[in-house]
Symmetry: C2
Subunit: 193 residues, 2 copies
């Protein structure tokens, strides 16, 4: 086992526990059981529990940004790309990881984590703003401030998943996502005069 492999093994086990019991209830003893690595081994690779949390944080944020980047670099209209981003996030929500909600809650009371989160939202906003600008250039979006609009898009996206994941009945989460993105596109669109 190389250094990187063991680290990844520990991190992945940590995500598994966090998905079940929440980040707040992630204990080192549980992590020992779930990862198959001993206490000492874990502390050989990470100098504290906080460092593990930070590593998980970075892992999730980087993954999210790279998903967005991949979508943006594809060909297609701004409208199509926006729909794609919402649908991808939908898949991610159904995936193995705990909701980002837990991470945000953690960051709310931790300075170093919230700094990372700010950096994340910054680059997220920049990327979506470019997309909005593309839509404006294509003539499909009304010429609103791309930065403000980008924040609204991100807010809606995050909100849909926050509510969707909390509101368990969720007869049809997919339909809700589609409806949200359609509402969004209506709001962004240029009106025929």
């Amino acid at each position: 086992m190389t250094e990187a492999e063991t680290r990844q093994q520990i991190i992945l086990a940590a995500f598994k526990i966090a998905a079940e019991k929440g980040f707040a209830n992630l204990s080192m003893n549980d992590l020992v059981r779930a990862s198959g690595v001993s206490k000492g081994g874990i502390y050989w690779h990470f100098k504290s529990k906080d460092e593990i949390i930070r590593a998980m944080f970075d892992y999730v944020l980087a993954a999210q940004i790279s998903i967005v980047d991949a979508t943006l670099s594809e060909t297609g209209s701004a409208t199509e790309k926006l729909r794609r981003i919402f649908r991808l996030a939908e898949q991610a929500a159904a995936g193995q990881f705990a909701s980002p909600l837990d991470l945000y809650a953690l960051a709310a009371h931790d300075k170093t984590l919230s700094q990372r989160l700010v950096g994340y939202f910054d680059s997220y906003q920049q990327r979506i703003a470019l997309l909005v600008q593309q839509g404006i250039d294509e003539g499909t979006f009304a010429p609103h401030d791309p930065d403000l609009s980008a924040m609204n898009i991100i807010s809606l996206l995050e909100g849909v998943f926050l509510v969707g994941l909390s509101f368990t009945p969720m007869r049809d989460f997919g339909a809700q996502v589609e409806n949200a993105v359609t509402l969004l596109l209506e709001g962004l669109s240029k009106r025929e005069l």
Copy 2:
């Protein structure tokens, strides 16, 4: 001090701690210090920490619903009411309480809490759906499914605060809220043909 007063005193102190350190780090010993009530006293009024959390949960959700109810019962167009709800929530976010974010995160891994949350979102959705129906009846909103639209409105509202509270720079949170509600109203509005 009556029973109800002491209970409230404990709950309010708990909110104060939660706002500073998060719900996950709310300890009974801290609560003793902050509330001015001893361990024995607290456990006289609440049979466990979980019961305190549950009481806080209900407190926040009931407060939110009553704010929405008050706004809905006022006179005015659906458009005006929607703007008002967003602005009220903005004030609440600047208030003394911790972000609901923490509560949602807690509920995500606690069955009894998530049940309460589902009930909350249910009545929230019903109320907003009525508002959407009002807008449709007034002829300002396009005739979309009021229930789905209501969920989208709630999602955007929650998302705006989630992102707004996490994304600390927040040059101008008020402007962001205004922009969000405007985008929303554009999306909901009936198109001129």
